[in-house]
């Protein structure tokens, strides 16, 4: 009986206590809400960045995140104020949620940290929740600092065209020996969830934001194997000046975005853009997106980061397997080099290796150097076979076995690329041009051009691979009196390259790379069969490029298809023939190019077409250049000069 009365009393106390707690919590909640309202916290830049609240191309201002679960307020996507209030309320009602993963504080640790920071002076008793899964994530990343990683392009892997950027969360040095092991870090990656293998469909959907993008945390060694080894792309790692607190904030914010979906726009809101957008959300002092254009190209990102912010502490270059092999090859004496070529030949024609008498007589150091170069050669040249455990891989295992029997240490490879190869020193990717053209049919034309991106082979040769051209949305107009009839001045489209690529990788006996070119667009065709007219054009060519120091010479076969619905006959016609081009780099700021082309056409009366071109560009700086062109098509010669501004 007594016992019963006591327990009644106890439970009454308990009820009273919980209701007192609930009341206190309710009071705290109201104080937080009032403070947020009084201080207009929803206008805080970081709050808006955490919501990814931006004004887009169509002048709509709303959050870029498309998942309903990212918002507590029904109109949260459009209204940061409503979202802030709803978020605060959710934080205080987490005790009603059983699954800790679903608690508001655990789903939005960055918002929670941000809020607490702003109310530090208010003595609020925060209803702290235990977030096991988030804590395990943050502990796994063990972030201490952050690097922005840029993977450059290797054009024989064509659509790596614009490069890629992601962040790497750098762990604290190992407790064991105080060293850093970069391979064991995690990378934060934002990429489109592509659902198509069709290149054209991919391009189209990517351009118009029809893919969903997702944030992922990927072990850095995965990225290194993917880019450095499988795709032969160099990695540039830019260590950022980010306070440890901002690093924690970054990890917390990526956790918030993890389940979310954000539309992926190939040229505007892409991987680069969102790496910067999460940096800005993590650290209110970071301001970089405002310094970029409407569209964001990965290569531009690192340039702007380097030139216009003081965020970059240092950079590290991580060479691709291709560069490592070239370096190892360069270390060989002529005699050693000969042995490497013998081995490279053997792997092609026989199922095993016979080491020459000469090789067996060499010193252990020489043998190790040759085998090390050969191992990297196989990894680069036969990367697919090596990954898929094909024939060359089985043969490589024999080479490794031989190498393991030689105690000699490998030569340490360290490559420090020359300034003209550093992407952060590149010229800006957009290009305007104005100029003048005179033709032998006594026409004087004004020229106006604009190229969206990226680099051609006469632009300042800095920060882009010297063997490549990547043109995206290149428009050339002329203004003047037309060829026929009256002397009215008119504006004509001379050239439009939706997409143009040239890869002039050099051929060598060891690496017999092909060179090739591709163009899709519209050209104003000049020939002897009809008056100049715009035709849709597809041009492809393939052959070889030979490198002689500063000179490279390409020999290719070009084929092209023209289409013009305005022709009464031959709406579609094709032509093909040989093409020769010499490209010479006097200095990175002075380059010349000369080419000759013969083409046999499928239609029209005059089926033979010849063209020769000589071009030179001198760039005063990375942003201004002057280009002169002479073009001869037998029936028509033209001289033009254009002033380019890169922005």
């Amino acid at each position: 009986m007594k016992l019963f009365g006591f327990s009644v009393f106890l439970s009454a106390v308990f009820v009273f206590q919980t209701s007192a707690q609930a009341l206190a919590a309710e009071a705290d909640l109201n104080r937080v809400l009032k403070f947020a309202e009084d201080q207009q916290l929803h206008k805080d830049r970081q709050w808006r960045k955490l919501l990814h609240f931006e004004t887009d191309f169509f002048r709509t201002t709303e959050s870029q995140v498309d998942s309903a679960k990212f918002f507590f307020a029904p109109n949260g996507k459009q209204n940061p104020q409503a979202e802030l209030q709803a978020t605060i309320k959710a934080f205080f009602h987490d005790d009603e949620i059983q699954d800790s993963y679903e608690k508001a504080q655990c789903r939005f640790p960055a918002r929670y940290r941000w809020l607490k920071k702003h109310l530090v002076s208010q003595n609020i008793k925060w209803p702290e929740a235990q977030c096991e899964r988030y804590l395990a994530f943050a502990k796994g990343l063990k972030g201490q600092s952050v690097s922005l990683v840029f993977s450059s392009y290797y054009l024989n892997n064509p659509s790596s065209a614009f490069g890629h950027t992601f962040l790497r969360v750098n762990k604290a040095p190992s407790e064991r020996d105080g060293k850093r092991y970069e391979l064991l870090d995690y990378g934060l990656n934002y990429a489109a969830e592509a659902d198509t293998n069709n290149a054209f469909l991919y391009g189209f959907k990517g351009l118009f934001g029809m893919f969903q993008g997702k944030f992922k945390a990927i072990p850095y060694y995965f990225k290194v194997r993917e880019y450095n080894n499988a795709e032969s792309r160099d990695l540039w790692e830019y260590q950022l000046r980010l306070k440890p607190e901002a690093v924690d904030m970054l990890v917390a914010h990526v956790w918030e975005l993890g389940p979310g979906q954000i539309d992926y726009w190939y040229v505007t809101e892409n991987c680069s853009y969102h790496m910067l957008s999460i940096l800005e959300a993590a650290d209110p002092s970071v301001d970089i997106l405002s310094k970029l254009d409407q569209y964001v190209i990965p290569a531009d990102t690192v340039r702007v980061l380097w030139n216009k912010t003081d965020l970059v502490e240092s950079y590290v270059y991580r060479p691709s397997i291709r560069q490592v092999f070239f370096q190892r090859e360069a270390l060989l004496s002529p005699e050693e080099s000969k042995e490497l070529k013998i081995l490279a030949k053997q792997i092609k024609i026989q199922d095993g290796f016979t080491y020459s008498e000469n090789f067996n007589k060499m010193s252990a150091a020489s043998q190790a150097k040759i085998l090390d170069a050969f191992i990297d050669f196989i990894d680069y040249r036969y990367s697919k076979e090596v990954q898929e455990a094909g024939r060359e891989f089985q043969l490589k295992m024999q080479v490794l076995e031989k190498r393991s029997g030689i105690s000699e240490e490998p030569v340490k490879i360290s490559i420090d690329p020359a300034p003209e190869e550093r992407p952060h020193l590149a010229h800006p990717s957009g290009r305007w041009g104005v100029g003048y053209r005179h033709t032998t049919s006594d026409k004087d034309l004004a020229l106006l051009s604009h190229r969206f991106a990226l680099h051609d082979r006469l632009d300042p040769a800095i920060g882009y691979p010297r063997y490549s051209l990547i043109s995206f949305f290149d428009l050339d107009f002329s203004y003047g009196s037309p060829f026929s009839g009256n002397n009215e001045k008119e504006l004509q489209l001379e050239n439009f390259a939706a997409f143009e690529l040239i890869s002039a990788s050099a051929w060598s006996t060891l690496i017999p790379d092909h060179s090739w070119r591709f163009k899709l667009g519209v050209e104003r065709t000049y020939n002897e069969n009809f008056s100049p007219t715009q035709e849709a054009i597809l041009r492809m060519g393939g052959g070889w490029t030979f490198l002689f120091g500063k000179l490279d010479v390409s020999a290719q076969v070009l084929g092209e298809a023209h289409y013009d619905g305005a022709h009464s006959e031959n709406k579609m016609w094709v032509g093909a023939g040989p093409f020769l081009e010499a490209h010479y780099q006097w200095t990175p700021y002075l380059l010349s190019q000369a080419s000759v082309q013969y083409r046999r056409d499928s239609a029209w009366d005059i089926k033979d077409y010849f063209k020769s071109t000589v071009e030179t560009q001198y760039s005063f700086t990375k942003t201004w250049g002057l280009r002169g062109v002479y073009r001869n098509q037998r029936f028509l010669e033209e001289y033009s000069i254009q002033l380019f501004n890169y922005y």
Binding site: R133, S159, Y181, T196, F222, V254, Q387, R403, E409
Partner: protein, 163 residues
């Protein structure tokens, strides 16, 4: 109307063909001896499906489910981070080619990374992997689980590991 029907049927056929192609890839990958023991990352090849364009532009990696943040628990990961005890098998599976290179040479970044994961001395481990190269990489036919077992066996016998 008839035309529209043809279009729909054509789309369905191509979609099915595409899906079949995808499935082929996955089974091909899982058929490489990545059984339930490994993490099933498959190999990282330039251009999944042999389609360079797609792989290069998406900067994707094989296995679209992996590494998702807050996707819950997968074979080796929880919310993209490796579960304890899974770091080593995952590392070996993805890095086995580079690891074999380093082992044959007796040193290298990949080998040092693995040594750190296993709490071993990189120098000692390097020389013992080099000495036992055949046993670890050839006799195992490069199967990740077998490589891992043999590495543990080799380093256990020479006291390179432990605090």
């Amino acid at each position: 109307m008839k035309f529209a029907k043809y279009v729909v049927i054509a789309m369905l056929v191509s979609g099915a063909a595409h899906a079949a192609g995808k499935k082929g890839l996955l089974s091909e990958l899982s058929g490489q001896g990545y059984g339930s023991a490994g993490c099933g990352f498959g190999s990282i090849v330039m251009g999944q499906d042999g389609n360079q364009v797609l792989a290069a532009t998406t900067n994707g990696t094989s296995g679209s489910q992996t590494f998702g943040i807050s996707t819950g628990t997968l074979n080796c990961q929880q919310d993209a981070v490796f579960k304890s005890g899974k770091e080593v098998p995952a590392f070996i599976e993805v890095n086995k080619v580079a690891l074999a290179n380093d082992a044959a040479r007796g040193q290298g970044e990949t080998l040092a990374g693995l040594a750190n994961l296993m709490n071993c001395d990189a120098k000692v481990m390097g020389s013992s992997l080099k000495k036992n190269y055949n046993k670890i990489f050839v006799e195992t036919n490069m199967q990740p689980a077998a490589i891992e077992a043999n590495i543990h066996q080799v380093v256990a016998s020479n006291g390179a590991c432990g605090a």
